[in-house]
Amino acid sequence: MSKIHVKTRINGEAAEFLCEPDETLLEALRDRLHLTGTKEGCGSGDCGACSVTVNGRLVASCLMLAAEAEGAEIGTIEGLAKGAELDVLQRKFVEHAALQCGICTPGFLVASKALLEKNPDPTEEEVRYWLAGNLCRCTGYDKIIRAVLDAAAEMRRA
């Protein structure tokens, strides 16, 4: 079976790749485009480690075929920092020590970014519900939630 040629935009830049028909977007990002910031946790859409945005919509990249990305605008963790300058969310995750092993962190950051773009002033409850599909087995979540709320507050002041 011949490979599928996919043209897309990733973090604002044109990107293209060849993929197998049954290859997931997660596999294409990591193995073909070497964007290894996006992690595989469960591979079944339960843990959120592979979170990316597709046309602005938060999705689990393990539950989407790479071929479906044709013509789409993809946002990954690599798009957050501007060169050496961390995104506010990244900075707040560091300040609040909102990570330990770090596997879930890119997913949390991408998901939190999508939340704050939609809702710049979320309540703690809204943050917790939005991030319910992102699992962290190290931190116990409180530091993550505080980092997101602090980032939101700083972004509103800016």
């Binding site: 028909p21 859409g45 689990a60 989407m64 075929l65 479906e68």
Partner: protein, 287 residues
């Protein structure tokens, strides 16, 4: 495996006919891809329906709403007008999976996955929703309640697929509600659930009602005796007790680690009663 992304319903029908049962329709993929990865299914062809423009839209039709089979939960819940007409279906749809799953999951997919615990299905059945089905013999309209026939099984014939879900026009003083029981607050599958849609007259008396239960039988159940318990009442204590009794009697749940038969029967009656009160309050607020 082959991946197809046609841009019209006719092309999907042709592709499914040619594949002779070896193809699966891909909408949100939140069940399909999980089943493929766990080797439960191994289709030769995937037919992605998200490139078909009319399947991505929510449109007004005869006072009701037509929801394309590829409309995601996130898109549905951002549509203020449809959520105002069908708050119960909106809350049920929103309960499916995480934010990430909401970005992709669809009503038609939740229906065709045919889980007895599917959250949107009792709400659709209570709403008297109708699925539009396209296939080799043309198009037919099928009440949502008639689509699932058992766990993982639907009444769709070979080569058929759902193109849209239709929600009928809403009478004034009508509303719906959906409640489920899970042992946590998010990211779980219903142990028991109930959807209620009702219409009140000017005096607040119930003139139409549909009650559907999830996770307490091999398919979602439409409970006609529950309708009878509510009609002509203002949902007073006796009417709600009769509603709960009708639901408990209709439920034939399984016993498993998530809930016993006794627990599920009792809880589904309580959920139906509470959902009916929520729907009643919403209907009165709309008046």
């Amino acid at each position: 495996m082959q991946y197809l992304a046609p841009t019209s319903v006719d092309e999907v029908v042709a592709a499914l006919a040619q594949a002779d049962g070896r193809a699966r329709v891909l909408a949100g993929g939140t069940d399909l891809l999980v089943q493929m990865k766990s080797d439960m299914i191994a289709p030769d062809i995937l037919v992605d329906i998200k490139r078909i423009p009319e399947l991505r839209e929510i449109t007004r039709e005869g006072g009701g709403w037509r929801i394309g089979a590829a409309v995601s939960g996130a898109e549905f819940n951002e549509h203020a007008d449809i959520c105002a007409d069908w708050p119960g279906l909106a809350e049920a749809f929103d309960l499916i999976g995480s934010t990430q799953v909401q970005g992709r999951c669809t009503l038609a997919g939740n229906l065709c996955n045919a889980s007895p615990a599917a959250d949107s299905v009792p709400a659709m059945v209570a709403a008297d929703a109708v699925a539009r089905v396209a296939g080799p013999n043309g198009t037919r309209d099928v009440p949502v309640v008639d689509i699932p026939v058992g766990p993982g099984k639907t009444s769709l014939a070979a080569g058929e697929f759902i193109t849209s879900i239709f929600l009928p026009a809403r009478a004034p003083r009508s509303a719906d509600a959906y409640l489920r029981f899970i042992p946590r607050t998010e990211m779980d599958i219903a142990v028991a659930s109930a959807g209620v849609s009702l219409t009140l007259d000017d005096d607040g008396s119930c003139v139409a009602a549909r009650v559907a239960l999830g996770a307490v039988a091999p398919t979602v159940l439409l409970v006609e005796k529950a309708t009878a318990a509510l009609i002509g009442t203002r949902l007073e204590g006796a009417a709600l007790a009769a509603l709960a009794q009708a639901c408990e009697s209709a439920a034939t749940p399984i016993d498993d680690k998530r809930g016993t038969v006794e627990f599920r029967k009792q809880v589904v009656g309580v959920l139906a009663r509470r959902a009916a009160r929520v729907a009643q309050n919403r209907a009165e607020e709309r008046a």
